[in-house]
Symmetry: D2
Subunit: 323 residues, 4 copies
């Protein structure tokens, strides 16, 4: 292999730049040329592909977002789009790909390999932490620190005014952010899609005869909660207890940006390095992840289809800490 390319795809996450840097530096260390594909699969189709010198990734390790930009590509869902992408990739002499992204991106890379034989190794870049094959994804640690920082700020007001706050964090299908941010934020209740009795516990806090006597409380809600988001949940409680009052805050996109945490930069550095080394060793269709502190490769099929479980020990702590 003489020349490879790297791209970021799907939602951006803090640490993507640190990961790009690691792939570029590892390629140069191994005397391999490396190019950057802009805007994920879109740049492949539109031939936005640029050479990445070692210096081109200087001073980016601390930046949020991605210098290669990212997008969700409709064109790549079509055979014509992928054909065009292959023509462009081939025209640059690119022999292998590094894809930093999540589920959808790896699915695209896998199909691309099946159709055109271009090997690809992935690195898990998403704040949601919902990828099987890595204990943590790149961006998750930063996202929970951002969420916890917001919870700390809101707790100042909750405490000063003796108020209840419902704070909605990201996590459409998984409660990883809600659970970690809730524990770290000292939340009185945490609502995640994975648990079925969490909603009853929160209801018990604010309705019925055994209501909590706490002056203020903070409930953290994953956006994918099966009973609804923060606004809906507060409305549901009000129907049962008209005197109930709560403020709602939707943290939203602030969780996706920002300077990556130290942990995310180290993780991104390890996985970007490992992804290139795996590609050079002839691996393909696998994601580099960190499992029990060791870098491991997991087939895209497993990363995409298997479900990572929430840590049940953490769910248990919520009850213990709020008795």
């Amino acid at each position: 292999m003489k020349k490879i390319a790297v791209f970021t795809s799907g939602g951006d996450s803090p640490g993507m730049n640190a990961c790009v840097r690691a792939t570029v530096r590892t390629a140069h260390y191994n005397n391999i040329e490396i190019m950057g594909i802009m805007r994920g699969f879109n740049g492949m189709i539109e031939n936005e592909i640029i050479p990445l010198a070692s210096r081109s990734v200087s001073n980016i390790i601390q930046r949020g977002g991605t210098i290669l930009k990212t997008a969700r590509s409709k064109g790549f869902l079509t055979p014509e789009g992928r054909k065009m992408a292959f023509t462009n990739v081939q025209s640059h002499g690119i022999e292998g790909l590094i894809c930093i992204g999540g589920n959808g991106s790896f699915t695209g890379a896998k199909i691309f390999h099946e159709e055109f034989g271009i090997p690809c190794i992935g690195a898990p870049g998403t704040i949601d932490n919902d990828l099987y094959g890595t204990d943590l994804t790149i961006g998750f640690d930063t996202a929970i620190n951002t969420a916890v920082d917001a919870i700390d700020k809101i707790r100042d007001t909750a405490d000063s005014h003796d108020r209840v706050f419902f704070i909605e964090v990201m996590g459409r299908h998984a409660g990883f952010i809600a659970l970690a941010a809730g524990i770290a934020g000292g939340a009185e209740g945490i609502l995640v899609p994975e648990s079925t009795d969490d909603w009853q516990k929160v209801l018990n806090m604010y309705t019925g005869n055994n209501q909590s006597k706490k002056a203020f409380s903070i409930i953290v809600v994953a956006e994918g909660e099966e009973h609804g988001g923060a606004f809906e949940l507060v409305e549901k409680i009000k129907k049962l207890n008209p005197a109930f009052e709560a403020r709602v805050t939707i943290l939203g996109h602030i969780q996706r940006g920002g300077t990556p945490s130290a942990y995310d930069r180290v993780l991104a550095s390890k996985l970007g390095n490992a992804a290139v080394e795996a590609l050079l060793k002839g691996e393909t269709n696998k994601m580099a992840g960190l499992i029990n502190n060791k870098v491991m490769l997991t087939p895209f099929d497993d990363a995409i289809n298997k479900t990572k479980k929430l840590n049940p020990d953490l769910l248990r702590l919520v009850d213990i800490f709020n008795t």
Copy 2:
């Protein structure tokens, strides 16, 4: 005067604790006893009034919220409530009051003085900066730093995805936060209640023949914008340009909390000190503020009724920086 009391009232703001500390230390320096009234006027009515030793305010200068808690008081709107409050204040031998809060709080203090003759000096504690008689209110600088930090994070995603974001900040009647945070955040457009042509400029960016060619943009909206909040504004644009796409983030309560900035701590220290000194000199019904770097007293009547203007130079900069 031998004994005074301090309380925080209305919405909490970062720096209130630094201000409480300054009043306590200044009182002790002048050999005056000082008590703390909990939860604003509510604590007066319910007799939640505690002595404040010099050490009781150690290690609070850096904390958001207020150790004296705060509330909006319905009871104090009634003559009976105020009568009860006076009885309690008198029973402790309190001869003067320091009120850290905003418009509503000063109005209450003024009536209380008219009815019972208890002198009161105010310090402007609100993030909104909408008080006449001080260039900046305690908490405003922290709030704009929080908003700007959020804008920076969102810009990472806006830039990486080439997206438009509408970010709604606090400011029900005034655009101070939106204007300062927008300039500091490098926003492409800023919508404030005080300006009438700002909305047309933003419309021009996204509709009609001269649309902006910028890949991404950030529009900061004050919650009190006369054309509606961020969600409504985006809907209005979509009606004129169905292809228009934008994400909306409502920053919400994170703007009210957090460790106060250095500026807010210094301002709170100055004004808390000045408020006590003014009270001891026999002043009453006035707010201590900072005007052109000097501590000045402004009658409550003016602070409440006169309108502080947005800096027109800043509004002009938005146009200049986005051509």
Copy 3:
């Protein structure tokens, strides 16, 4: 067991308060009384022992330092001191101890158990991460984030002025902080006590015929580096290359304080909970740690005497990223 006590000992670390909170809440959840011993072993000797209600640990999860204070105790090194400590512990009916600290603290707890039979479980509270039996210690993640934040700030100046900076971080016997902060900070060189060829690599960057042509660079040095601290190292290079110029910054005590990171709060919560549960199950003389994402107990003897190794993969990355 009906009543236990918790104390913090040795140098403070961010997350100690979150750990204290977890022990208190877990004790109450199990209907066990819990007391707090102030200033580590000193408070045992001087009988500074206070009851800890569940509410006494509200709103501390986000605070640096330790509400129980900490100290190194000379008195506890003497048989008389320990005798006095036992008398006091016994007088309160305390049947078991939770010690949050490092090597020295666990050694003291072990001797105390041998002499008086009071069981003790430890939680690893130290920023240095130099304890065997846990992948990470409570406070380490916060400390590296603080160090990385400082490196980011210094890089602004290094880059703007094309200067070389040597930044000394904590770590008297171990390079954990230097290695993680160096990788995350994008440092060009990292000097740790555990490596013998790192110094030669840095020398080669600034002396001899193959000097680096980089405009600016950042070298991170562990305070325990065997060739000396940052000042000494710069002097040694100057002797070989009189034209060499570098600025030195010693980060110092800022690394020990600050709001704990999300990771440290979750870790502290898990280990504080596990420590109490282990004590109630009859365990003693063991440290609760996190190994491969699982809470594990390690005998004090091993935690104290065995050596945790630096991750060799990280050391390798320094070379790869700086070619």
Copy 4:
């Protein structure tokens, strides 16, 4: 005037990039070409001068340091150096200069104007705040926030261990940073070059019969303190009181970098805009500053030679708050 140039000079300060952006955008708004001179006067001599399109300053408002880099120039001190600089400036058709820097930079610009008639307007870019003609310099607010953040972290340890800390901040000739950071950090003592009795007060805290009984304390020292820096001061106290113990932290270069605060970005935006507008109106040899919230021009001679005074009200507060 058709074409101007901007450069940053002297020590870097947070907000310089926001100021560069403001000059570039203001120039384009007025249909004036603008170039960037790299590395201050050095780039003039070495002809490192590049065009600055409006987009070239996108996404830099939040970055510390300066994209134009900066340096202190020995060559510009010589007539030959300045001659070369003029030749280069003239060859690009540059008719006016914007200099973002401090005393030394303005002196150079003034001589350059005297010798070659090139008009120059300055903007005060330095963290030290020691320039006459502006209430605050660009970078000062960020620097004190950085210093206060460090003091907060150290206070965690000071409080937990009941220790005394001496913290040295920047300020070679002026105590602005020490005074503001000390007040905002809740310091028990502040030592500045401008005061003569501050040292005696600190001595009284730790020696003699009336020593403070406070468990812990924080003393903030300006590096230019006439009795010496933090290390020397602690040694002097130890000579008088051998039992005295204190830790020393030199904050150093972290104060010069980092994301600029909201205040610094707004200030830099105003002054960069005003500097270009003044230059276009035919002004020269003046610094744009902010005095009592209004942008004002001050002759370089005054900015350089007149002395800005410390706010005596703040010095008085130190005594009041620590009785």
